[in-house]
């Protein structure tokens, strides 16, 4: 692929003219991508290190940092539209990494009708958006963040907690009442069906966090260590494991639902939610749909086969670069291996070209777009020829 073209758009930029050199961004950046140059005092952003968590964007007091994802305007725009669509004045903002299904959210916050807003990390939410939401007539804001030690961006969840504390104090002084914004924490974990376990030890070997053990004739997990990547689930030969909110059955249902609403030729994307940050109003048109997973490691080879059986013409897997995998650098690499093995087997029945694996990073949004375009074109050309 022509990298000079695809790397033109950069997800995060720093405008030196606005920068007051306060260094808040560099002190918060979990990836040491923003630093103060000792000689000049200038703040510099090293985009190759940036993993686009958005912490710097949402905390910069001088609005010197801009982000192509989830910026104040697009979030406010979404809220305006969603308020009408969902006919509610309760907003629930959820980190994708830790949000249970809607029923789970209802239970957590005791609300049945709400405007959902999924973001990759609550730490990237600008306070301004929350304040604008209130001026828009939104009555209550619930925030669901990951447990602090579970945050894929290291400090995102903790910073979000402090911001909300400060905002609530401010809102109280302004006469909005106490605790206008409620914050809860949640983490999604593995579930074991001990009756199905065949004690093969796959989970013990593959778990990046050493959370799995074989004990008393079955796998057992230390849930304090589990970070919900789903690698063990996708590799369990006996279907003894499930990942909360990304259960096998639920993904299957989603595949058939998405396939029904698509037009031929159909392309389905399985993507790591940290490799591609979808815009709030993502629109793929009628031929493409995406399923976001907690890590490419949760991509189940059976789901890929199921997609083909459901009439999907092409399956694209988008994963983080190995060294940027949020699951101890293990998830994305293993996913690639599994996909390549499956691709080889698919090629034996003439479907090898229908499956494509790519490494992408949200810092260059164009790379994913180009991968998708190239793949979709190939599938489309094949389809016109009469396909399969």
């Amino acid at each position: 692929m022509n990298t000079s073209v695809t790397q033109q758009t950069v997800a995060v930029t720093l405008n030196e003219e606005y920068c007051s050199r306060c260094s808040i961004c560099s002190s918060l950046c979990p990836f040491e991508a923003i630093k103060k140059e000792p000689e000049t005092g200038k703040i510099v952003l090293e985009i190759e290190k940036c993993q686009v968590c958005g912490l710097c964007y949402s905390t910069c007091p001088a609005t010197a940092i801009s982000s192509v994802y989830y910026d104040t305007d697009s979030l406010t725009g979404y809220l305006k539209r969603a308020k009408q669509e969902y006919e509610s004045d309760i907003l629930v903002i959820m980190c994708k990494g830790s949000s249970p299904d809607f029923e789970g959210v209802e239970k957590l916050f005791g609300v049945s009708k709400f405007i959902p807003l999924f973001v990759p990390c609550i730490g990237r939410m600008p306070e301004e958006v929350l304040l604008r939401a209130l001026t828009m007539g939104i009555r209550g804001i619930h925030v669901l963040a990951c447990d602090e030690d579970y945050c894929r961006f290291d400090k995102g969840s903790a910073v979000a907690g402090r911001k909300i504390l400060a905002l609530n104090l401010l809102l109280e002084q302004l006469g909005y009442g106490t605790e206008v914004i409620t914050l809860k924490r949640n983490s999604l974990k593995v579930k074991v069906d001990k009756d199905k376990c065949i004690t093969c030890g796959n989970c013990v070997f593959y778990c990046p966090y050493h959370a799995a053990k074989l004990e008393n004739g079955a796998a057992s997990f230390d849930l304090d260590l589990c970070r919900g990547c789903g690698l063990c689930v996708a590799l369990c030969p006996a279907f003894a494991l499930e990942l909360e909110n990304w259960e096998k059955e639920r993904i299957s249902t989603l595949i058939s639902k998405l396939s029904l609403e698509m037009e031929k030729p159909k392309v389905l994307i399985f993507r790591c939610q940290w490799a591609v940050l979808p815009p709030v109003d993502e629109d793929f048109g009628s031929h493409v749909r995406a399923i976001d997973l907690p890590c490419a490691a949760r991509v189940d080879m059976l789901h890929i086969l199921e997609a083909f059986q459901n009439g999907i013409d092409g399956v694209l897997i988008a994963a983080c670069h190995e060294e940027e995998c949020k699951q101890e650098k293990k998830g994305s690499k293993e996913a690639q291996h599994q996909v390549m093995v499956l691709k080889e087997r698919l090629s034996q029945i003439g479907l090898g070209d229908r499956l494509h694996f790519c490494f992408v990073a949200p810092r260059y949004p164009g790379v994913f777009t180009a991968e998708l375009e190239q793949f979709t074109e190939g599938i489309g050309a094949d389809f016109l020829k009469g396909g399969r």
Binding site: P237, F308, Q348, I349
Partner: protein
Amino acid sequence: MIVTVQKSLDEIFDSLSPYTSVLIAGCDGCTQPPRGLREAEALSRLLELGARSRGKKLDFKVTTLPKQCDSYLVADMLEPQTDAVEAILSLACGVGVQTLTQVLPDLVTLPAQNTLFMGMEAREGGTFEENCAACGDCILALTGGICPIARCAKGLLNGACGGSSDDKCEQDPQKDCAWCLIYKRLQKLDRLDILREFRPPRNFRAVARPGRLKQ
């Protein structure tokens, strides 16, 4: 454990060609990599997709057994699942395929795997290493726990041969010379004296093939 590799889908299609209703049976026993329910389901989906492109309709059911090499378990757990099934495609090693054939003589059992050897799974490298040849006359106590019957290309009892170079085997320089490993191991144990003893040819009658054992 017993190490197996998948047969090509073409070969499986060929062997299945006379049948339309097939039960794919996984084995949760010692077959490695694990050939349990997931593998059975993955294979059924691949075959179903492949059959479509060949203009053929194949009906699959999938199941798995704790181990296919147990005649009682096969009769007890697998037989009740064979109604309207014409053939069983077994994901077990050759032992499992033959157990099924013997216990379910009215059905055809076909192998989905090639059975390679008994070996160790070296997880980190993702490799499987053969290390037991089931010779029936174990000498591991004399060779520092490293088997020259399985791991020396020539199966020598008094190695190393002259072909060993840089601790690798002349037959395949990717593989370790078993006798170099044995020497180093015995050196570490301070038992090089064992090597001074000449070992006569081993007892080939320890297991009369085919092996049989009455419990």
